[in-house]
Protein backbone atom coordinates (compact mmCIF):
# COMPACT_ATOMS: atom_id res chain seq x y z
CA UNK A 1 0.00 0.00 0.00
CA UNK A 2 1.31 3.38 -1.04
CA UNK A 3 0.74 6.51 1.06
CA UNK A 4 1.12 10.04 -0.28
CA UNK A 5 1.94 12.65 2.37
CA UNK A 6 1.73 16.30 1.27
CA UNK A 7 3.83 18.58 3.52
CA UNK A 8 4.06 22.37 3.76
CA UNK A 9 6.92 24.67 4.69
CA UNK A 10 5.63 27.35 7.06
CA UNK A 11 6.84 29.84 9.67
CA UNK A 12 8.01 27.86 12.70
CA UNK A 13 5.20 27.60 15.24
CA UNK A 14 7.33 29.26 17.94
CA UNK A 15 7.84 32.42 15.92
CA UNK A 16 5.71 35.44 16.76
CA UNK A 17 4.99 36.86 13.33
CA UNK A 18 4.94 40.59 12.68
CA UNK A 19 2.70 42.39 10.26
CA UNK A 20 4.63 44.54 7.76
CA UNK A 21 4.10 48.29 8.24
CA UNK A 22 2.90 48.64 4.61
CA UNK A 23 0.15 46.06 5.33
CA UNK A 24 1.15 43.81 2.41
CA UNK A 25 1.69 40.72 4.55
CA UNK A 26 3.75 39.41 7.43
CA UNK A 27 7.51 39.82 7.66
CA UNK A 28 9.14 36.52 6.66
CA UNK A 29 12.71 37.83 6.24
CA UNK A 30 15.16 35.89 8.40
CA UNK A 31 12.37 34.02 10.14
CA UNK A 32 12.82 30.37 11.05
CA UNK A 33 10.80 28.08 8.77
CA UNK A 34 9.79 24.50 9.60
CA UNK A 35 7.45 21.76 8.53
CA UNK A 36 3.84 22.58 9.45
CA UNK A 37 3.16 20.74 12.77
CA UNK A 38 0.03 18.98 11.44
CA UNK A 39 2.08 17.75 8.45
CA UNK A 40 4.69 16.30 10.83
CA UNK A 41 1.89 14.33 12.49
CA UNK A 42 0.82 13.06 9.03
CA UNK A 43 4.38 11.93 8.20
CA UNK A 44 4.63 10.19 11.58
CA UNK A 45 1.32 8.37 11.07
CA UNK A 46 2.38 7.19 7.62
CA UNK A 47 5.65 5.86 9.04
CA UNK A 48 3.78 4.04 11.82
CA UNK A 49 1.52 2.43 9.20
CA UNK A 50 4.65 1.30 7.37
CA UNK A 51 6.18 -0.04 10.59
CA UNK A 52 2.98 -2.01 11.20
CA UNK A 53 3.31 -3.55 7.73
CA UNK A 54 0.21 -1.78 6.40
CA UNK A 55 2.05 0.62 4.11
CA UNK A 56 4.93 -0.26 1.82
CA UNK A 57 5.97 3.09 0.40
CA UNK A 58 5.65 6.69 1.61
CA UNK A 59 5.98 9.57 -0.83
CA UNK A 60 6.34 13.10 0.57
CA UNK A 61 5.13 15.91 -1.70
CA UNK A 62 5.49 19.64 -1.27
CA UNK A 63 4.24 22.51 -3.41
CA UNK A 64 6.35 25.59 -2.79
CA UNK A 65 9.68 27.36 -3.30
CA UNK A 66 13.06 25.64 -3.80
CA UNK A 67 13.58 25.68 -0.01
CA UNK A 68 10.56 23.39 0.41
CA UNK A 69 13.05 20.70 -0.54
CA UNK A 70 14.33 20.99 3.07
CA UNK A 71 10.84 20.20 4.31
CA UNK A 72 10.74 17.11 2.09
CA UNK A 73 14.21 16.13 3.39
CA UNK A 74 12.83 16.35 6.94
CA UNK A 75 10.05 13.93 5.96
CA UNK A 76 12.63 11.63 4.32
CA UNK A 77 14.80 11.78 7.46
CA UNK A 78 11.79 10.81 9.58
CA UNK A 79 11.21 7.77 7.33
CA UNK A 80 9.47 8.67 4.06
CA UNK A 81 10.94 6.86 1.03
CA UNK A 82 11.05 9.48 -1.70
CA UNK A 83 9.92 12.99 -2.46
CA UNK A 84 8.29 15.13 -5.12
CA UNK A 85 8.84 18.91 -5.07
CA UNK A 86 6.41 20.90 -7.19
CA UNK A 87 8.43 24.06 -7.33
CA UNK A 88 6.94 27.53 -7.60
CA UNK A 89 7.66 30.91 -6.03
CA UNK A 90 4.05 32.01 -6.36
CA UNK A 91 1.49 31.88 -3.58
CA UNK A 92 -0.46 28.71 -4.20
CA UNK A 93 -3.94 28.55 -2.71
CA UNK A 94 -5.44 25.33 -1.32
CA UNK A 95 -7.61 24.81 -4.42
CA UNK A 96 -4.56 24.85 -6.72
CA UNK A 97 -2.58 22.65 -4.32
CA UNK A 98 -5.48 20.17 -4.35
CA UNK A 99 -5.42 20.16 -8.17
CA UNK A 100 -1.67 19.48 -8.25
CA UNK A 101 -2.12 16.69 -5.70
CA UNK A 102 -4.96 15.20 -7.75
CA UNK A 103 -2.63 14.98 -10.76
CA UNK A 104 0.08 13.35 -8.64
CA UNK A 105 -2.46 10.86 -7.26
CA UNK A 106 -3.28 10.02 -10.90
CA UNK A 107 0.36 9.14 -11.54
CA UNK A 108 1.20 7.44 -8.26
CA UNK A 109 -2.08 5.69 -7.40
CA UNK A 110 -1.74 5.81 -3.60
CA UNK A 111 -4.35 4.12 -1.40
CA UNK A 112 -4.25 6.88 1.17
CA UNK A 113 -3.40 10.56 1.05
CA UNK A 114 -2.52 11.54 4.62
CA UNK A 115 -2.08 15.24 5.35
CA UNK A 116 -2.37 17.90 8.04
CA UNK A 117 -5.80 19.36 8.74
CA UNK A 118 -4.52 22.91 8.30
CA UNK A 119 -1.36 24.92 7.81
CA UNK A 120 -0.51 27.31 10.62
CA UNK A 121 0.22 30.19 8.23
CA UNK A 122 -3.00 30.68 6.24
CA UNK A 123 -5.16 28.57 8.61
CA UNK A 124 -7.40 27.59 5.68
CA UNK A 125 -8.21 23.97 6.60
CA UNK A 126 -9.25 23.10 3.03
CA UNK A 127 -6.67 21.18 1.00
CA UNK A 128 -7.50 17.63 2.13
CA UNK A 129 -11.26 18.08 1.76
CA UNK A 130 -10.83 19.71 -1.67
CA UNK A 131 -8.57 16.91 -2.86
CA UNK A 132 -11.09 14.30 -1.68
CA UNK A 133 -13.87 16.09 -3.58
CA UNK A 134 -11.82 16.42 -6.78
CA UNK A 135 -11.00 12.70 -6.64
CA UNK A 136 -14.53 11.71 -5.54
CA UNK A 137 -12.91 9.96 -2.59
CA UNK A 138 -14.26 9.69 0.96
CA UNK A 139 -12.53 11.69 3.68
CA UNK A 140 -11.76 11.41 7.37
CA UNK A 141 -10.77 14.84 8.66
CA UNK A 142 -9.31 15.87 12.06
CA UNK A 143 -8.21 12.30 12.83
CA UNK A 144 -7.20 11.30 16.34
CA UNK A 145 -7.03 7.59 15.49
CA UNK A 146 -6.62 5.68 12.23
CA UNK A 147 -7.16 1.92 11.79
CA UNK A 148 -6.69 0.30 8.38
CA UNK A 149 -8.13 -3.17 7.65
CA UNK A 150 -9.92 -5.02 4.83
CA UNK A 151 -9.78 -2.20 2.30
CA UNK A 152 -11.28 0.23 4.79
CA UNK A 153 -10.04 2.97 7.05
CA UNK A 154 -11.79 3.55 10.36
CA UNK A 155 -11.04 7.11 11.34
CA UNK A 156 -11.87 8.57 14.74
CA UNK A 157 -12.38 12.31 14.36
CA UNK A 158 -12.15 15.22 16.78
CA UNK A 159 -15.54 16.93 16.52
CA UNK A 160 -16.99 19.80 18.54
CA UNK A 161 -18.86 17.67 21.07
CA UNK A 162 -16.30 14.87 21.41
CA UNK A 163 -15.25 12.08 19.05
CA UNK A 164 -16.86 10.59 15.95
CA UNK A 165 -15.82 7.47 14.03
CA UNK A 166 -16.38 7.08 10.29
CA UNK A 167 -15.60 4.14 8.00
CA UNK A 168 -14.03 5.00 4.64
CA UNK A 169 -13.64 2.77 1.60
CA UNK A 170 -10.08 3.03 0.33
CA UNK A 171 -8.68 4.93 -1.44
CA UNK A 172 -9.34 7.84 0.91
CA UNK A 173 -8.05 11.16 2.20
CA UNK A 174 -7.25 11.45 5.91
CA UNK A 175 -6.33 14.73 7.66
CA UNK A 176 -4.58 14.79 11.03
CA UNK A 177 -5.42 16.48 14.30
CA UNK A 178 -3.09 17.13 17.22
CA UNK A 179 -3.68 14.06 19.32
CA UNK A 180 -3.13 11.48 16.57
CA UNK A 181 0.50 10.91 17.56
CA UNK A 182 3.71 12.56 18.70
CA UNK A 183 6.07 12.93 15.76
CA UNK A 184 9.57 11.50 16.16
CA UNK A 185 12.79 13.41 15.79
CA UNK A 186 14.98 12.31 12.92
CA UNK A 187 18.22 10.69 14.09
CA UNK A 188 21.55 11.85 12.70
CA UNK A 189 22.17 8.62 10.73
CA UNK A 190 18.68 8.95 9.22
CA UNK A 191 19.30 12.59 8.32
CA UNK A 192 22.47 11.45 6.50
CA UNK A 193 20.59 8.63 4.78
CA UNK A 194 17.80 11.01 3.73
CA UNK A 195 20.31 12.99 1.66
CA UNK A 196 20.57 10.05 -0.71
CA UNK A 197 16.83 9.49 -1.06
CA UNK A 198 15.46 10.71 -4.42
CA UNK A 199 13.42 13.91 -4.84
CA UNK A 200 11.78 14.61 -8.21
CA UNK A 201 11.43 18.29 -9.05
CA UNK A 202 8.43 19.37 -11.09
CA UNK A 203 6.45 22.53 -11.80
CA UNK A 204 2.68 23.12 -11.49
CA UNK A 205 2.58 23.48 -15.31
CA UNK A 206 3.84 19.87 -15.63
CA UNK A 207 0.49 18.87 -14.16
CA UNK A 208 -1.45 21.37 -16.25
CA UNK A 209 -2.55 23.31 -13.15
CA UNK A 210 -3.19 27.04 -13.26
CA UNK A 211 -2.13 28.43 -9.88
CA UNK A 212 -3.39 31.98 -10.40
CA UNK A 213 -4.90 33.06 -7.04
CA UNK A 214 -8.67 33.48 -6.75
CA UNK A 215 -8.38 35.64 -3.66
CA UNK A 216 -6.69 39.02 -3.87
CA UNK A 217 -5.10 40.10 -0.59
CA UNK A 218 -6.10 43.74 -0.10
CA UNK A 219 -4.31 44.20 3.20
CA UNK A 220 -2.92 42.45 6.24
CA UNK A 221 -3.28 44.22 9.55
CA UNK A 222 -2.56 43.73 13.25
CA UNK A 223 -5.47 42.25 15.18
CA UNK A 224 -7.24 44.70 17.50
CA UNK A 225 -5.27 44.97 20.72
CA UNK A 226 -6.79 44.49 24.13
CA UNK A 227 -5.70 46.83 26.85
CA UNK A 228 -4.55 45.38 30.15
CA UNK A 229 -6.96 46.12 32.99
CA UNK A 230 -6.27 46.32 36.68
CA UNK A 231 -4.82 44.00 39.30
CA UNK A 232 -7.01 43.15 42.24
CA UNK A 233 -5.61 42.31 45.66
CA UNK A 234 -7.96 39.60 46.83
CA UNK A 235 -10.65 37.13 45.81
CA UNK A 236 -13.22 39.28 47.65
CA UNK A 237 -12.23 42.36 45.64
CA UNK A 238 -12.37 40.32 42.41
CA UNK A 239 -15.90 39.09 43.12
CA UNK A 240 -17.01 42.61 44.08
CA UNK A 241 -15.62 44.05 40.82
CA UNK A 242 -17.30 41.32 38.72
CA UNK A 243 -20.62 41.96 40.45
CA UNK A 244 -20.69 45.74 40.73
CA UNK A 245 -18.34 47.11 38.07
CA UNK A 246 -18.54 44.55 35.23
CA UNK A 247 -21.97 43.18 36.11
CA UNK A 248 -21.18 39.76 34.66
CA UNK A 249 -22.03 37.55 37.67
Amino acid sequence: MKILVPVKRVVDYNVKVRVKPDQTGVDLANVKMSMNPFCEIAVEEAIRLKEKGVATEIIAVSVGPAQAQETIRTALAMGADRGILVQTDDTVEPLAVAKVLKAIVGEENPDIVLLGKQAIDDDSNQTGQMLAALLDWPQGTFASEVAIADGKANVTREVDGGLQTVALQLPAVITTDLRLNEPRYASLPNIMKAKRKPIDTKAPADYGVDTAPRLEVLKVTEPPKREAGIKVESVAELVAKLKDEAGVI
Partner: protein, 308 residues
Protein backbone atom coordinates in the same frame (compact mmCIF):
# COMPACT_ATOMS: atom_id res chain seq x y z
CA UNK B 1 -28.89 37.32 -5.77
CA UNK B 2 -29.75 34.83 -3.06
CA UNK B 3 -27.52 33.46 -0.36
CA UNK B 4 -27.74 29.98 1.18
CA UNK B 5 -26.96 29.35 4.86
CA UNK B 6 -26.39 25.79 6.03
CA UNK B 7 -28.05 25.28 9.42
CA UNK B 8 -25.99 23.72 12.21
CA UNK B 9 -28.09 21.48 14.46
CA UNK B 10 -28.38 18.14 16.23
CA UNK B 11 -31.81 17.26 14.68
CA UNK B 12 -33.52 18.46 17.88
CA UNK B 13 -32.48 22.11 18.15
CA UNK B 14 -30.99 24.79 15.96
CA UNK B 15 -27.44 25.68 17.06
CA UNK B 16 -27.02 29.37 17.91
CA UNK B 17 -24.02 29.55 15.56
CA UNK B 18 -26.53 29.54 12.69
CA UNK B 19 -27.95 32.86 13.96
CA UNK B 20 -24.51 34.43 13.61
CA UNK B 21 -24.06 32.97 10.12
CA UNK B 22 -27.39 34.51 9.04
CA UNK B 23 -26.07 37.91 10.16
CA UNK B 24 -22.94 37.41 8.04
CA UNK B 25 -25.10 36.27 5.11
CA UNK B 26 -27.20 39.44 5.30
CA UNK B 27 -23.98 41.41 4.72
CA UNK B 28 -23.76 39.92 1.22
CA UNK B 29 -27.13 41.39 0.20
CA UNK B 30 -30.05 39.55 -1.34
CA UNK B 31 -32.48 36.97 0.05
CA UNK B 32 -31.20 34.65 2.75
CA UNK B 33 -32.35 31.03 2.56
CA UNK B 34 -31.49 28.38 5.15
CA UNK B 35 -30.91 24.70 4.40
CA UNK B 36 -31.79 22.22 7.14
CA UNK B 37 -30.49 18.74 6.29
CA UNK B 38 -31.48 16.30 8.98
CA UNK B 39 -33.38 13.28 10.15
CA UNK B 40 -36.52 14.02 12.17
CA UNK B 41 -35.46 17.67 12.14
CA UNK B 42 -38.84 19.36 11.66
CA UNK B 43 -38.40 21.35 14.89
CA UNK B 44 -35.09 22.67 13.55
CA UNK B 45 -36.68 23.67 10.25
CA UNK B 46 -39.48 25.43 12.15
CA UNK B 47 -36.94 27.29 14.27
CA UNK B 48 -34.98 28.30 11.16
CA UNK B 49 -38.18 29.64 9.54
CA UNK B 50 -38.62 32.00 12.49
CA UNK B 51 -35.15 33.57 12.14
CA UNK B 52 -35.29 37.27 11.48
CA UNK B 53 -34.53 38.06 7.85
CA UNK B 54 -34.75 34.52 6.46
CA UNK B 55 -36.98 34.33 3.37
CA UNK B 56 -37.08 30.60 2.79
CA UNK B 57 -36.14 27.35 4.49
CA UNK B 58 -35.11 24.33 2.43
CA UNK B 59 -35.71 21.16 4.44
CA UNK B 60 -34.06 17.91 3.32
CA UNK B 61 -35.01 14.82 5.33
CA UNK B 62 -33.09 11.54 5.05
CA UNK B 63 -31.95 8.81 7.44
CA UNK B 64 -28.42 9.45 6.27
CA UNK B 65 -28.62 13.03 7.54
CA UNK B 66 -28.98 11.90 11.17
CA UNK B 67 -25.19 12.02 11.30
CA UNK B 68 -24.29 13.22 7.83
CA UNK B 69 -20.89 12.62 6.30
CA UNK B 70 -19.07 15.35 4.39
CA UNK B 71 -19.72 13.42 1.19
CA UNK B 72 -23.50 13.35 1.73
CA UNK B 73 -23.72 17.05 2.62
CA UNK B 74 -21.61 18.04 -0.37
CA UNK B 75 -23.77 15.95 -2.70
CA UNK B 76 -26.84 17.77 -1.37
CA UNK B 77 -25.45 21.31 -1.40
CA UNK B 78 -23.45 21.43 -4.65
CA UNK B 79 -26.43 20.99 -7.04
CA UNK B 80 -28.41 23.60 -5.05
CA UNK B 81 -25.71 26.14 -5.84
CA UNK B 82 -27.07 26.62 -9.36
CA UNK B 83 -29.67 28.84 -7.70
CA UNK B 84 -27.36 30.69 -5.30
CA UNK B 85 -24.45 33.10 -5.51
CA UNK B 86 -23.01 32.29 -2.12
CA UNK B 87 -23.15 29.59 0.55
CA UNK B 88 -22.21 30.12 4.17
CA UNK B 89 -21.80 27.77 7.13
CA UNK B 90 -20.39 28.12 10.62
CA UNK B 91 -16.69 27.30 10.95
CA UNK B 92 -17.49 24.39 13.26
CA UNK B 93 -16.09 20.89 12.76
CA UNK B 94 -19.15 20.21 10.58
CA UNK B 95 -18.75 23.29 8.37
CA UNK B 96 -14.98 22.88 8.11
CA UNK B 97 -15.50 19.27 7.06
CA UNK B 98 -17.86 19.55 4.09
CA UNK B 99 -17.65 23.16 2.83
CA UNK B 100 -14.24 22.83 1.10
CA UNK B 101 -15.68 19.86 -0.81
CA UNK B 102 -18.46 22.09 -2.12
CA UNK B 103 -15.89 24.76 -3.05
CA UNK B 104 -13.74 22.27 -4.95
CA UNK B 105 -16.75 20.91 -6.86
CA UNK B 106 -17.69 24.47 -7.83
CA UNK B 107 -14.05 25.26 -8.66
CA UNK B 108 -13.91 28.21 -6.25
CA UNK B 109 -11.55 29.12 -3.41
CA UNK B 110 -13.30 28.91 -0.06
CA UNK B 111 -12.92 31.86 2.29
CA UNK B 112 -12.40 30.29 5.70
CA UNK B 113 -13.39 31.50 9.14
CA UNK B 114 -14.37 35.07 8.26
CA UNK B 115 -14.71 37.62 11.06
CA UNK B 116 -16.19 40.48 9.01
CA UNK B 117 -17.94 41.15 5.71
CA UNK B 118 -16.50 44.32 4.13
CA UNK B 119 -18.39 44.02 0.84
CA UNK B 120 -20.24 41.17 -0.92
CA UNK B 121 -16.89 39.99 -2.34
CA UNK B 122 -14.51 41.22 0.39
CA UNK B 123 -13.96 39.58 3.76
CA UNK B 124 -11.67 39.70 6.78
CA UNK B 125 -10.21 36.49 8.19
CA UNK B 126 -7.59 35.68 10.82
CA UNK B 127 -4.29 34.09 9.73
CA UNK B 128 -1.20 33.01 11.66
CA UNK B 129 -3.27 31.90 14.65
CA UNK B 130 -4.99 35.27 14.84
CA UNK B 131 -1.73 37.24 14.90
CA UNK B 132 -2.70 38.95 11.65
CA UNK B 133 -6.01 39.83 10.00
CA UNK B 134 -6.17 39.42 6.24
CA UNK B 135 -8.66 41.26 4.04
CA UNK B 136 -9.31 39.28 0.85
CA UNK B 137 -11.36 39.97 -2.25
CA UNK B 138 -12.73 36.97 -4.08
CA UNK B 139 -12.81 36.90 -7.88
CA UNK B 140 -14.88 33.71 -7.98
CA UNK B 141 -18.42 33.95 -9.35
CA UNK B 142 -19.83 31.98 -6.43
CA UNK B 143 -18.66 32.41 -2.87
CA UNK B 144 -18.13 29.56 -0.42
CA UNK B 145 -17.61 30.93 3.07
CA UNK B 146 -17.20 29.59 6.59
CA UNK B 147 -17.99 32.04 9.38
CA UNK B 148 -16.48 32.42 12.83
CA UNK B 149 -19.74 32.57 14.78
CA UNK B 150 -18.42 34.44 17.83
CA UNK B 151 -17.64 37.60 15.86
CA UNK B 152 -21.12 38.19 14.42
CA UNK B 153 -24.28 39.28 16.23
CA UNK B 154 -26.90 36.55 16.47
CA UNK B 155 -30.18 37.30 14.71
CA UNK B 156 -33.29 36.93 16.81
CA UNK B 157 -36.69 35.54 15.93
CA UNK B 158 -39.42 37.42 14.12
CA UNK B 159 -39.44 35.97 10.61
CA UNK B 160 -41.89 33.60 9.00
CA UNK B 161 -40.07 32.05 6.08
CA UNK B 162 -41.77 29.82 3.55
CA UNK B 163 -40.90 26.14 3.86
CA UNK B 164 -39.76 24.02 0.95
CA UNK B 165 -39.24 20.27 1.37
CA UNK B 166 -36.51 19.13 -0.96
CA UNK B 167 -35.22 15.69 -1.85
CA UNK B 168 -31.95 14.39 -0.50
CA UNK B 169 -29.09 13.33 -2.72
CA UNK B 170 -28.92 9.58 -2.94
CA UNK B 171 -25.74 7.60 -2.51
CA UNK B 172 -24.11 5.27 -2.56
CA UNK B 173 -21.38 7.05 -0.67
CA UNK B 174 -17.93 5.75 0.12
CA UNK B 175 -17.97 6.85 3.75
CA UNK B 176 -20.36 6.06 6.57
CA UNK B 177 -20.95 7.12 10.14
CA UNK B 178 -20.00 4.39 12.61
CA UNK B 179 -20.30 5.81 16.11
CA UNK B 180 -19.75 8.83 18.29
CA UNK B 181 -18.65 9.43 21.80
CA UNK B 182 -19.84 12.80 23.00
CA UNK B 183 -18.63 14.31 26.22
CA UNK B 184 -21.42 14.10 28.76
CA UNK B 185 -21.97 17.20 30.78
CA UNK B 186 -24.86 19.04 32.39
CA UNK B 187 -22.98 22.27 31.85
CA UNK B 188 -23.46 24.58 28.88
CA UNK B 189 -21.50 23.97 25.71
CA UNK B 190 -18.16 25.80 25.59
CA UNK B 191 -18.83 27.86 22.48
CA UNK B 192 -22.27 29.04 23.60
CA UNK B 193 -21.73 29.46 27.37
CA UNK B 194 -22.08 32.95 28.86
CA UNK B 195 -19.31 32.23 31.36
CA UNK B 196 -16.25 30.04 30.75
CA UNK B 197 -13.66 29.04 33.34
CA UNK B 198 -10.50 27.47 31.93
CA UNK B 199 -7.49 25.81 33.51
CA UNK B 200 -3.94 25.61 32.24
CA UNK B 201 -0.77 23.75 33.05
CA UNK B 202 -0.82 25.47 36.46
CA UNK B 203 -3.66 23.13 37.46
CA UNK B 204 -0.95 20.44 37.77
CA UNK B 205 -3.31 17.47 37.28
CA UNK B 206 -6.65 16.39 35.86
CA UNK B 207 -7.99 15.76 39.37
CA UNK B 208 -7.45 19.39 40.28
CA UNK B 209 -9.94 20.41 37.60
CA UNK B 210 -12.67 19.62 40.16
CA UNK B 211 -11.72 22.97 41.73
CA UNK B 212 -12.94 24.59 38.49
CA UNK B 213 -16.00 22.32 38.31
CA UNK B 214 -17.24 23.58 41.69
CA UNK B 215 -17.06 27.19 40.55
CA UNK B 216 -18.51 26.37 37.13
CA UNK B 217 -21.54 24.77 38.81
CA UNK B 218 -22.12 27.87 40.93
CA UNK B 219 -21.84 30.22 37.93
CA UNK B 220 -23.55 28.02 35.33
CA UNK B 221 -20.27 28.15 33.42
CA UNK B 222 -18.59 25.83 30.94
CA UNK B 223 -15.13 24.45 31.72
CA UNK B 224 -12.31 24.83 29.21
CA UNK B 225 -8.56 24.33 29.13
CA UNK B 226 -5.43 25.57 27.44
CA UNK B 227 -3.57 23.43 24.93
CA UNK B 228 -0.82 22.93 27.51
CA UNK B 229 -3.35 21.31 29.88
CA UNK B 230 -4.66 19.10 27.06
CA UNK B 231 -1.16 18.14 25.92
CA UNK B 232 -0.30 17.28 29.54
CA UNK B 233 -3.26 14.87 29.53
CA UNK B 234 -5.24 16.67 32.27
CA UNK B 235 -8.45 16.90 30.19
CA UNK B 236 -9.73 15.74 26.77
CA UNK B 237 -9.15 17.75 23.60
CA UNK B 238 -12.73 18.99 23.34
CA UNK B 239 -11.97 21.21 26.38
CA UNK B 240 -9.34 23.05 24.37
CA UNK B 241 -9.76 26.79 23.88
CA UNK B 242 -7.39 28.31 21.32
CA UNK B 243 -6.45 28.49 17.69
CA UNK B 244 -6.14 24.70 17.49
CA UNK B 245 -9.22 24.17 19.66
CA UNK B 246 -12.40 26.15 20.14
CA UNK B 247 -12.87 29.87 19.73
CA UNK B 248 -15.06 31.32 22.48
CA UNK B 249 -16.31 34.82 23.26
CA UNK B 250 -18.37 34.64 26.46
CA UNK B 251 -19.48 37.52 28.70
CA UNK B 252 -16.93 36.40 31.27
CA UNK B 253 -13.79 34.30 30.72
CA UNK B 254 -11.81 33.21 33.77
CA UNK B 255 -8.29 31.93 32.99
CA UNK B 256 -6.76 29.97 35.85
CA UNK B 257 -3.12 28.90 35.82
CA UNK B 258 -2.87 29.83 32.14
CA UNK B 259 0.23 31.75 31.06
CA UNK B 260 -1.44 33.22 27.98
CA UNK B 261 0.36 31.73 24.96
CA UNK B 262 -0.53 33.38 21.64
CA UNK B 263 -2.38 30.29 20.53
CA UNK B 264 -4.62 30.39 23.62
CA UNK B 265 -5.29 34.14 23.34
CA UNK B 266 -6.45 33.57 19.74
CA UNK B 267 -9.28 31.47 21.13
CA UNK B 268 -10.61 33.78 23.87
CA UNK B 269 -9.50 37.38 23.40
CA UNK B 270 -12.90 38.46 22.08
CA UNK B 271 -14.49 37.67 25.45
CA UNK B 272 -16.26 40.66 27.01
CA UNK B 273 -14.58 40.48 30.41
CA UNK B 274 -11.40 38.50 31.05
CA UNK B 275 -10.19 37.49 34.52
CA UNK B 276 -6.76 35.97 35.05
CA UNK B 277 -5.65 34.12 38.15
CA UNK B 278 -1.98 33.25 38.08
CA UNK B 279 0.82 33.21 40.61
CA UNK B 280 3.34 34.55 38.07
CA UNK B 281 2.69 38.27 37.87
CA UNK B 282 4.74 38.44 34.65
CA UNK B 283 2.43 35.99 32.83
CA UNK B 284 1.32 37.44 29.46
CA UNK B 285 -2.32 36.61 30.27
CA UNK B 286 -2.37 39.70 32.52
CA UNK B 287 -1.78 41.90 29.46
CA UNK B 288 -5.24 41.02 28.12
CA UNK B 289 -7.08 40.59 31.44
CA UNK B 290 -9.54 43.19 32.68
CA UNK B 291 -9.06 41.90 36.21
CA UNK B 292 -5.88 40.15 37.27
CA UNK B 293 -5.33 38.37 40.55
CA UNK B 294 -1.78 37.34 41.37
CA UNK B 295 -2.34 34.39 43.67
CA UNK B 296 -1.78 30.70 44.15
CA UNK B 297 -4.77 29.07 42.47
CA UNK B 298 -4.93 26.32 45.09
CA UNK B 299 -5.88 28.89 47.72
CA UNK B 300 -7.71 31.33 45.43
CA UNK B 301 -10.10 28.80 43.86
CA UNK B 302 -11.54 27.39 47.13
CA UNK B 303 -11.93 30.95 48.41
CA UNK B 304 -13.68 31.96 45.18
CA UNK B 305 -16.03 28.97 45.43
CA UNK B 306 -16.78 29.97 49.01
CA UNK B 307 -17.47 33.62 48.15
CA UNK B 308 -19.80 32.99 45.21
Amino acid sequence: MAVLVIAEHDNAALNDATRAVVTAAKGLGGDVHVLVAGSGAQAVADAAAKLDGVAKVLHAEADGFAKPTAEALEALVTPLMEEYDAVLAAATTTGKNFMPRVAAKLDVMQISDITAVEAPDTFVRPVYAGNAMMTVKSSDAKKVITVRPTTFEKVGDGGSAEMDDIGAASGPFKSEFVSEELSKSDRPELTSAKIVISGGRGMQSGENFHLLDTIADKLGAAVGASRAAVDAGFVPNDYQVGQTGKVVAPELYIAVGISGAIQHLAGMKDSKVIVAINKDEEAPIFQVADYGLVADLFSALPELAETL
